[in-house]
Symmetry: C2
């Protein structure tokens, strides 16, 4: 008998048949005596359908009205799931974000949760009801409907679990857990039984799309035990925990691959204070997020004094605009040249075990060198090493690293 | 410069093109300097689509969850119309029923409006914004979403007009006003420039589907000037007012036709106190609404003492069940026989002028007799005479009466 918050994504509730399937699943948990709060997304395709209608009417719809529109998607699902449960003799009650209420700031389309009222939900749980909550949405303190942005339903689930001090927050999705790397690239990829929040955060921010970053952050901050499982396949999934592993912890937990980024380089700019600001300032001002930033050690081959090279990455969708801004900024600095590349991939090793082992980077570079893969950029944190390579080497690199760090072997916890 | 509440029904906002059309219309009114509150229904077909999903999942969905589900229909429309207006440079803000808030009782699926808060709407109007409100929905004092039942958007519009003391409440629909009778039956039917609330109420309850009865009642009670107009065709529509007409008022304002009813008759029941209760009690207990009720004067041809006949009408959908219940009740009373007929039509003359003229009934009966139409039931009120005839005579009766009372002639107001 535990209090469990479950979240079912858009694919899991994508048709009436699937809603029936989820209802069967929830009913079974309820039968086992658990208290259940179920968070659901909009039926898959619904958010896109609504968005399309909005853009057909107005090229730049107001964020407030977009939230009014999109929040209907989850509202439909909560009602349908409540009905499907009632049909099965399971008492259930639905809540929109505003009804809980889940209070957020007023940043429409990317609101942040501030507080979750638990009084009403608690009363329903005490009365033996399954509580169904619309994911992705909340309400600001003026009563305006807000949304948390794409994938925000994960965050809703974690926030509810934190507020209600749930025993576990289960995220049901179409994969059965977190893998050592993308199984489509490396068939030997292995499902992890557990992973730490820090590792999961790195994996998520490096392109693993299993969980939304903010949800992982939130869960880590409030120590909510988080589990990723498959809706349609039985299994234990992957538990994301605060605890570090036992003695036999591996160096590397997983390999993340990210192909969403593009690289920009400016060569031969004067090596003097303020140069990074001159180059990156205009890009930041345009709301373009910069990920990796590298500045080479200064050379002094230039007749005008010491010069340096500058490389950074941005999201591919921002590449053209960033390149333009960079050229403008560089021309004022008499840079030698500005270039870019969109055919790159970032491959990252993630693992808390790296903290206490210095030789991970060397082993990584050796594995890549043995495959003749050239490294274009390197960046490291305490629990992560990322390299940027040409994307055509992506699969080769992942397989080589997976083997070099023996990730196919089961970790003893 | 007036404060106008406008309501656009499901057909008027049934596609993105039509929403654009409505936005153009609203923008034009706004340009003329009016303050505008716009109430919209769900896009036509949407309520049926949602209802179908619900019944696919659960044969008897809870009314509370049904309201959560159906209220999304209007919520989509308010957001889309707000966006379409913003595209046209018109400041607009949408409100769900719960956001206004429109407070109702907790009778899900047929809630009644209790109060309408006007503070927020007033602030938006003062700031020059068009206020867009979701029709058909409200919220009870526990924060549950409620709906007012089919056609409830008319009631929402009237309630807002009453609360805001609007100068006029305009109901846009697919007909251009209220007619003397159904133009599909009588090509000479004439659009009325005005009609009283009493007359409109009778017309509505007698089958004229232009306006929802509760909306008319509400408008009458709060003296809200109500106007029915066409969304897609320019014209003054029909004004529904409190004032009676001037000296030249006609006897009859319009002819309503209702084919939704069925007739039930029981013959030869003992004429003694309590007999009506014995026959109609079980029917009322089954939540079947009885419309016309007639009891003939007692005859005494029966050996068992004075006997009488009993006739009443119910909605066609309740006919089979009512017949069964009536047979049961009648068998305990030794009735001669129980019979029924579903091929009937009720044709009614409506007009406040009848109050001061006694000869309307006689003229009506003469017109029908001249066409050899047999009258099966008669019922009257101060401003209405209804007759039940076989439905095959319906068109003939309407045309004869339209001519007899010269309804094609323009009334001088």
């Amino acid at each position: 008998m535990a209090l469990i918050v479950q979240k079912y994504g858009g694919t899991s509730v994508g048709s009436l048949e699937r809603i029936q399937f989820v209802a069967d699943k929830v009913a079974k948990f309820k039968e086992q005596g658990h208290d259940l709060v179920v968070v659901v997304s909009a039926m898959s395709g619904e958010t896109d359908r609504l968005t399309q209608m909005a853009y057909d009417l107005c090229p730049r719809p107001s964020a407030r009205e977009m939230d009014v529109l999109l929040s209907t998607g989850e509202q439909v699902t909560i009602a349908l799931l409540a009905m499907a449960l009632q049909k099965r003799g399971v008492a259930a009650k639905s809540y929109t974000g505003g009804q809980v209420p889940i209070l957020t700031d007023d940043a429409h389309s990317k609101a942040r949760i501030q507080t979750v009222e638990q009084e009403r939900l608690r009363a329903d749980l005490d009365a033996g009801r399954v509580v169904i909550v619309a994911g992705f949405q909340g309400v600001d303190d003026s009563g305006n409907i807000t949304t948390l942005g794409r994938g925000g339903s994960d965050t809703t689930a974690v926030a509810l679990a934190a507020a209600l001090k749930a025993d576990e927050c289960q995220i049901y999705t179409d994969v059965d857990g977190v893998y050592t790397t993308d199984p489509r690239i490396e068939p030997n990829a292995r499902r992890l039984d557990r992973i730490t929040f820090e590792e999961m955060l790195e994996m998520a921010s490096l392109g693993s799309k299993v969980l939304q970053i903010r949800a992982v952050e939130f869960a880590g901050k409030y120590a909510v035990p988080l589990r990723v499982l498959s809706t349609f396949q039985e299994g234990p999934g992957t538990l994301i925990t605060l605890e570090d592993y036992a003695v036999e912890e591996p160096l590397v937990t997983g390999i993340a691959v990210n192909e969403d980024e593009a690289q920009l380089t400016v060569r031969g700019v004067p090596d003097r204070p303020g140069i990074a600001l001159s180059l990156l300032g205009p890009i930041g001002d345009s709301n373009i997020e910069v990920d990796m930033i590298l500045q080479n050690a200064s050379g002094d081959g230039s007749p005008d004094g010491p010069a340096t090279d500058f490389t950074f990455t941005v999201h591919k969708r921002d590449y053209e605009r960033a390149l333009e801004l960079l050229k403008e900024a560089a021309s004022g600095l008499n840079a030698h040249d500005v270039s870019g590349n969109t055919d790159i991939a970032k491959v990252s090793l993630v693992g808390v075990g790296m903290r206490s082992h210095a030789n991970v980077a060397a082993r990584m570079f050796r594995a890549l060198a043995e495959e003749n893969i050239n490294i274009r950029m390197i960046s490291t944190t305490e629990i992560k090493i990322s390299v940027v390579i040409l994307s055509k080497y992506k699969e080769l690199a992942v397989r080589a690293l997976h083997e070099a760090f023996e990730l196919e072997k089961i970790r003893t916890v």
